[in-house]
C-alpha cells in the first residue's frame, strides 16, 4: 500500500505506543492539533493526554524532562517543531543525554528519541531551513538517523524507539507528502545499515534524506550519458555502515558525497576524510562533495534554489570527479 512518509512515521509511533506503554510523545502542538504536519492526528484521543503531551514553547525544559523520564525507564519520543530550534535546547541533548551513560560508567541508559523536521526548499528562510545532522554527528553519544523513504522512516523509527541510546531522528519536510510503498505488517530496519538505491559501476554517490531522490534523478541523467552511478543511501549516519561504503568504493573507485546541509564541516567532510584515509589506493580521483553553500538559507526562491544541491549540481559534481 502507498503511504506518505508522514503517515509512515505516524504508524511507527502508533505501533510502538501500542506495543509498549512506556513509550510516550511530547512536543509543541502534537496533541490537540496532532502535529503541524498532521503526523499524530488522533493520537491524543486514542492514547490520552498523558501519553501525547502538548508542551509549552520551552524546548530546553521539555527536552530535559524527556531525558529525565528516560533515565527512569520511560521511552519518550520528543519532537522539536524544526531542527533549527536545537539552538534553544542543546544542553539536555549534548551535555546530558549524550554524555550521561559514559559519565556514570554505564549506570544510566537514556532511551530517548529526538525527532525533528529538517531541510530547505520551502522558502522558510534562514531560521527554519537548516539541515543540522553534522552538528549531531559531532556529538559522541548520539545516534543519528536520516531516512529518505516511507518504508525506511517507519522501520528506522521503530528501531530508534527500541534502541537504548539517545537517537536523533531527522525527517525532511519536503519528503513528508511523498507517497510510497511500504511493507505490510510489522517490521524493523536496524540502525546502521545503508541501502544501495541504485547499483552502478562508475561512481558512488553517497547521500541521505531528500538528496537521495536528487541523486537518483542525477543518476538517470548520467546514465543517458554513459555514466553508471551507484547511489548509496546511508539512512543512518551514526553508527555508519562503513562496510557498505567500502564495498561500493572498492567497486566504483570514484566517490561523490551529496549533502543538503552546509558544506563546511558537513557530514560529507567526515566521510571524505575517512574514505581518503582508509581507501586512498582504491580512489581514481579525489572524493568529491556536492553540498549546501556556506551561507544562511535565503528566503528568495531563486536564491534558495541556488544555495543547495539540485540534480543538475550532482550531475556536474560527478562529471567533475570523473574528469568528464
Amino acid at each position: 500500500m502507498k503511504t506518505s512518509i508522514s503517515k509512515a512515521i505516524g504508524q511507527a509511533l502508533h505501533e510502538e505506543m501500542v506495543r509498549d506503554e512506556n513509550v510516550f510523545i511530547l512536543g509543541e502542538d502534537m496533541g490537540v492539533m496532532g502535529n503541524v504536519f498532521g503526523i499524530t492526528r488522533g493520537f491524543r484521543d486514542e492514547f490520552g493526554a498523558k501519553r501525547v503531551i502538548d508542551t509549552p514553547i520551552s524546548e530546553s525544559g521539555f527536552t530535559g524532562i524527556a531525558v529525565g523520564a528516560a533515565m527512569r525507564g520511560l521511552r519518550p519520543v520528543v519532537e522539536w517543531m524544526y531542527d533549527d530550534f536545537i539552538t534553544v535546547c542543546l544542553d539536555p541533548v549534548m551535555n546530558q543525554a549524550a554524555k550521561l551513560r559514559y559519565m556514570t560508567g554505564g549506570q544510566i541508559t537514556i532511551p530517548v528519541v529526538f525527532r525533528a523536521p529538517i531541510g530547505a526548499g520551502r522558502r522558510n528562510a534562514g531560521q527554519h531551513s537548516q539541515c543540522l545532522e553534522a552538528l549531531f554527528t559531532h556529538i559522541p553519544g548520539l545516534k543519528v538517523v536520516c531516512p529518505s523513504t516511507a518504508a525506511d522512516a517507519k522501520g528506522l523509527l521503530k528501531a530508534a524507539i527500541r534502541d537504548d541510546d539517545p537517537v536523533v531522528f531527522l525527517e525532511h519536510k519536503l519528503l513528508y507528502a511523498k507517497q510510497e510503498e511500504i511493507p505490510d505488517g510489522e517490521y524493523i530496519i536496524p540502525l546502521g545499515k545503508a541501502d544501495v538505491k541504485r547499483p552502478g559501476k562508475d561512481v558512488t554517490i553517497i547521500t541521505w534524506s531528500r538528496q537521495v531522490y536528487f541523486a537518483l534523478e542525477a543518476a538517470q541523467t548520467l546514465a543517458a550519458e554513459g555514466i553508471d552511478a551507484e547511489v548509496l543511501d546511508l539512512r543512518t549516519l551514526v553508527p555508519l555502515d562503513w562496510d557498505a561504503v567500502r564495498e561500493s568504493v572498492c567497486k566504483t573507485h570514484n566517490v561523490v558525497i551529496v549533502e543538503e546541509g552546509v558544506k563546511r564541516g558537513g557530514v560529507g567532510a567526515e566521510l571524505s576524510a575517512q574514505i581518503t584515509e582508509d581507501l586512498f589506493d582504491e580512489l581514481d580521483a579525489p572524493v568529491g562533495r556536492v553540498a549546501g553553500m556556506n551561507v544562511v538559507s535565503p528566503f528568495s526562491p531563486v536564491l534558495e534554489d541556488a544555495e543547495f544541491p539540485h540534480p543538475e549540481d550532482i550531475v556536474a559534481g560527478v562529471k567533475k570527479t570523473l574528469g568528464r
Partner: protein, 332 residues
C-alpha cells in the same frame, strides 16, 4: 484613562486609525497573494491584533526601538516601515527590506528603529534588552519595546532577560501580546496562572494586563511603562489581550479553537472600535473613508511595486554574509 488621555484627540485617532487600516489592508493583500501562490513560504497574520501594535508604537518616539516576532507585519507597519519595501520582501525581491534574503518573518528597518522580526520564538527578547542596554550605555533616552506572544513567555530566555533588565533597570517594555494561543495550544493548558503579566512579580517590576483591542487603552498602558523606562526606573511588563483572527499561519483552518473565540474577537474588532469612537468624537465619516481609500491605493501600489521588482541575482547568493573578507570566509 488617566494622565495622557487628553492626548488621544481627533488628530491622534486619525493617525491610529490610519496605521491600523494600513496593517489590515497590507495583510489582506498579502493573504490574497499567498492564497493565489504569488507568495512563497509562510506568512503569519496579525489581523485582529492591530490595536496592540499601533497603540504601543504611538507611545514611542521615532528614536525608540522595537523588536518583533514571526507575526511581525503589524509591529513593523505600526513603527513606520514602508509597505512597498515590506511587500517586496514578502515577494522575495531585491527591492525588499532585506533584499529578499529574509522574507516575511525577518523585516528590519534600522532607520525606523525596527530591529527585526524574528523566526525564533522569544528570539527578539534578549536582543531588545541589548538595545535597551545600548541606550543606557550611550546615555540616550530612547526606549525599546520587545513584542512577543503569550507562548513566547514560556521560553527560558524570557526569564533570563527580564531578570537582567529588572536588575539593571534597562529602559525596556516587555509587550506580551496574549492572543491565548501558541499555534494550537491554548495558553492555560501550558501555564498555571491567569495572566502572563503576573510573572512580573518574580522580578519585582510592574506588570499589567489590558484590553488589547482598544488602541487608546494600549496607548495609555504602554505610555506609562515607557515613561517609567525613559526616566530610568526600569522595565515593565504590559500584556495586551488580543485575538488572532486567522489560524497560526495563513491557511491554517484553526480547527483546534472554539468558534466562540473568533466571534468574540470580531465583536471587539480594534478598527471598528476606533472608528466608532472617532465618529462619536465628531470626525466625519467621509474623512475616515478618505483614509480607507488612501491606504487601499498605497497597498495596491506596494503590490505593484513588489510584483514588478526584480528577483535577486542568484550569483549574489553569498553577498551580505560577512561585512569583511566575505568571499574568503564563505568559500572555504
Amino acid at each position: 484613562m488617566k494622565k495622557g488621555a487628553e492626548k488621544c484627540d481627533a488628530q491622534w485617532y486619525l493617525e491610529a486609525y490610519t496605521r491600523m487600516v494600513r496593517i489590515r489592508d497590507f495583510e489582506t493583500k498579502a493573504a490574497d497573494c499567498f492564497t493565489k501562490s504569488e507568495l512563497a513560504g509562510n506568512i503569519h497574520l496579525y489581523m485582529g491584533e492591530e490595536a496592540s501594535g499601533v497603540g504601543t508604537c504611538l507611545a514611542l518616539k521615532d528614536t525608540d526601538y522595537i523588536t518583533s516576532t514571526h507575526r511581525g507585519h503589524g509591529h513593523c507597519i505600526a513603527k513606520g516601515a514602508k509597505t512597498d519595501k515590506m511587500m517586496a520582501e514578502l515577494f522575495g525581491k531585491e527591492t525588499g527590506y532585506c533584499k529578499g534574503r529574509g522574507g516575511s518573518m525577518h523585516i528590519v528597518d534600522v532607520q525606523k528603529g525596527i530591529l527585526g522580526a524574528n523566526g525564533i520564538v522569544a528570539g527578539g527578547i534578549a536582543l531588545a534588552a541589548g538595545s535597551a542596554m545600548a541606550s543606557q550605555y550611550k546615555g540616550e533616552d530612547s526606549v525599546t519595546v520587545a513584542f512577543f506572544g503569550d507562548a513566547a513567555s514560556n521560553q527560558g530566555v524570557f526569564h533570563e532577560t527580564v531578570n537582567m533588565a529588572a536588575t539593571w533597570k534597562l529602559p525596556i517594555v516587555f509587550l506580551i501580546e496574549n492572543n491565548q494561543y501558541g499555534v494550537s495550544t491554548e495558553i492555560h493548558r501550558v501555564t498555571n496562572t491567569d495572566t502572563m503579566a503576573v510573572r512580573a512579580q518574580a522580578y519585582n517590576i510592574p506588570g499589567v494586563t489590558v484590553d488589547g483591542t482598544d488602541v487608546e487603552v494600549v496607548y495609555h498602558a504602554v505610555s506609562e511603562a515607557v515613561a517609567r523606562a525613559r526616566k530610568g526606573d526600569g522595565p515593565s511588563i504590559v500584556e495586551t489581550m488580543v485575538y488572532r483572527y486567522q489560524g497560526h499561519y495563513c491557511g491554517d483552518p484553526a480547527v483546534y479553537r472554539p468558534k466562540e473565540y473568533l466571534a468574540e474577537g470580531k465583536s471587539k474588532d480594534p478598527i471598528d472600535k476606533a472608528k466608532k469612537k472617532m465618529l462619536k468624537m465628531g470626525i466625519k465619516e467621509s474623512e475616515i473613508d478618505a483614509i480607507d481609500a488612501k491606504i487601499a491605493q498605497e497597498i495596491e501600489g506596494a503590490y505593484q511595486f513588489a510584483k514588478n521588482s526584480p528577483d535577486p541575482d542568484p550569483a549574489a547568493v553569498i553577498d551580505y554574509m560577512y561585512s569583511s573578507d566575505n568571499e574568503r570566509s564563505v568559500l572555504r
